[in-house]
């Protein structure tokens, strides 16, 4: 009965209660949308890192990683593969040669890890091939010798970048709300190629409103950049005997993942070519990458490999990139902290509302105490009212949150224009697909209950301190 009285009491002052409920809804919504954006960013980054770079398990010669010396290789990939492919949860694996080297173009040079891969098998393990722009050429071509796949970042370092405003550029910009009255000016630069970033921007600043150039700097760069096609590079590295060797490679395509650090360090060539030039046999491998059906079984899976091949260094993704795990753990704490802060702010509004409700009902509460409703029950009633008020808002907030996030997770939030550069520099994708795990729904509900109980205490104490004799005096 007290439960139903408490619930009904909330609706005595509908407007006031609705304002509080609405505030809770907004608070919960903004908090959890924030959480879902962070989660979405983290998850997609983690996923990209696993799918493009780390894989689920990596196997090296036990000396390999310490000094990155190519002489520490593995020569029994075949037997390893035979073993692991029979284990539960195995999805795919590949082996690579990894040699550090120098890449030279006519315009510049850079150091990188040269990955000798089997282009087709690699597709089953990593997704790099998905990040090769068609316009840049493409992924490896079966029968051609000495092809190399480099990243946009590397291409820029090698000064292979060119800037051209094309119809496509203008189309993409206008999708991003590029001002219509500036478009004709931009068209005057149509199909003129600039060899450097600097020249391009000087010209842009002369042609367009400088404020617009500033605002659209990142997008202008993104949509106007092209790369010199099929350029020749000279790749040098040490062969198996430590002698400097190298050859000419032709760029087959240019890729770009969300992670600039990775892009900067990695170039890919055909394992056959690298093996022939370096003297490492094709059956040798520096790195074996394994994908599993589920990233969470990596630990036990790695354990089995270790038991079978105790001399190898077998690492799970969590061991290779502990930050991934740490990040997501910190993330959770951070997310809850944000929600707690929002709820704490809401708590003041809730307390205030409940105090008002109690003041208005002094006489009634006095009457209730007079006729025998004891302090425990009055306390309980006020507490329930506070909790109902808060929980109602929280439930509506979380339910609408579910639908909003569901919608956003399909549509994605594109922050390319606002902060694409910063996000990409940190290895995040600027197209974010928010998501929020079920555990957050439970967590937030618990937090809300906790905050509701805390905020109910003060009003409830006020209510039981009322003296029934004073409260029932009608002249007061």
């Amino acid at each position: 009965m007290i439960l139903s009285i408490a619930w009904k009491n909330i609706w005595r002052n509908k407007l006031r209660s609705l304002v509080v409920i609405f505030a809770v809804i907004i608070g919960i919504l903004s908090g959890s949308i924030g959480v879902s954006i962070m989660e979405g960013m983290m998850k997609s980054r983690a996923k990209a890192q696993l799918n493009n770079e780390i894989s689920h398990i990596q196997i090296h010669n036990s000396n390999f990683k310490f000094n990155n010396e190519a002489k520490y290789y593995i020569d029994n990939y075949d037997s390893i593969k035979t073993f692991i492919s029979k284990l539960d949860g195995y999805k795919s694996s590949t082996d690579r040669l990894v040699i550090s080297g120098l890449i030279n173009s006519t315009g510049g040079n850079t150091a990188a890890f040269i990955y000798g891969i089997y282009p087709d098998i690699e597709k089953q393990v990593t997704e790099i091939y998905l990040f090769v722009k068609d316009s840049s050429g493409g992924y490896f071509n079966q029968d051609k010798k000495n092809q190399i796949l480099i990243s946009e970042t590397t291409a820029k370092k090698l000064r292979l970048d060119r800037y051209v405003i094309t119809d496509k550029t203008i189309e993409l910009l206008s999708i991003n709300n590029f001002p219509v009255d500036e478009t004709p000016k931009l068209k005057t630069l149509l199909n003129i190629e600039y060899r450097t970033h600097k020249d391009f921007f000087n010209e842009l600043r002369n042609t367009l409103d400088s404020k617009i150039v500033k605002e659209y700097e990142f997008l202008l760069l993104k949509y106007a950049v092209t790369f010199k096609h099929r350029a020749n590079l000279v790749v040098t590295f040490q062969d198996i005997n430590g002698k400097i060797t190298g050859d000419r490679f032709r760029i087959t395509g240019i890729y770009k993942t969300g992670n600039r650090m990775f892009d900067e360090m990695s170039v890919f060539v055909n394992k056959k070519d690298l093996s022939r030039l370096s003297g490492y046999k094709e059956t040798y491998s520096h790195e074996i990458a394994v994908m599993l059906s589920d990233k969470d079984i990596a630990k036990p899976f790695a354990e089995k490999i270790k038991n079978k091949f105790p001399n190898l260094k077998v690492e799970t993704w969590g061991e290779i990139e502990p930050m991934l795990i740490m990040f997501s753990e910190y993330m959770v704490i951070y997310n809850y902290l944000i929600i707690l802060i929002i709820l704490a702010a809401l708590a003041f509004g809730i307390i205030n509302t409940m105090l008002m409700a109690i003041m208005e009902r002094t006489k009634e509460l006095g009457m209730l105490a007079a006729v025998g409703m004891n302090k425990n029950r009055i306390f309980k009633m006020i507490m329930l009212e506070t909790i109902f008020l808060t929980i109602t808002g929280a439930i509506v907030g979380l339910v609408s949150n579910y639908f909003i996030i569901d919608w956003l997770s399909r549509k994605g939030i594109d922050l390319t224009k606002q902060m694409g550069e910063a996000l990409e520099a940190m290895g995040f994708d600027s197209l974010i697909y928010p998501e929020m795990g079920v555990e957050y729904y439970f967590g937030i509900t618990l937090l809300v209950i906790f905050v509701a109980i805390l905020s109910s205490i003060y009003p409830a104490i006020k209510a039981i301190k009322l003296n029934p004799a004073d409260a029932v005096r009608t002249d007061a």
Binding site: M1, L368, A369, M373, K375, R377, V472
Partner: protein
Amino acid sequence: MKIIELKNLNKVYHEGEIDVHAVRGIDLSFQQGEFTAIVGPSGSGKTTILNLIGGLDNPTDGDIIIDEVNIGNLKSSALTDFRMKNIGFVFQAYNLIPVLTAKENVEFIMHLQGKSKKERTERALQLLKEVGLSERVNSRPAKLSGGQQQRVAVARALASKPKFILADEPTANLDSESTANLLDIMEKLNKDENITFIFSTHDSRVVNKARRVVTVEDGKVVSDITK
């Protein structure tokens, strides 16, 4: 049978610097089955006396003995419990829980007493019938007239089967017809079921119905007449 005894009852309110001596050494007793009015000018101490008897306020000095229990010795929670079990209240206003229907209001005390749903419903309907509100059991207080609300309050006060009912100016907000109606009901309950009523009033028509009239002035009993 004596059910209430007041011995040398004193109540002093402190209002800032000033002490208000609202009740000055009252000795009074009430018998089972009485129908008593406490009358007196405004500020004479009627409400204070009723609140003291009802255990809503603590005396500054003296004893209140109800059915051999000195309620001055009871702790706050025990006193609340005592009120629930032994005393029925009818106030001038704000008697009812606005969000509950008439029937639920009557049931409420029985709920606090832990009575079963069936017993609650039966008794509530019975009591509302006695006060002539069978037709309005599912109405909320706001939908009832002032007189009807007070009748629900009487039914509510009876619900816990109290030893007596205290009513502080129960008719003050009522027109003469409702006043007469309420008094008839109270009188009938008193006669038929031997329910003890002690009420304060300003209203001479109400006073005329009483069988005992205690007049207070300035915190003291100045006359005590039983007809």
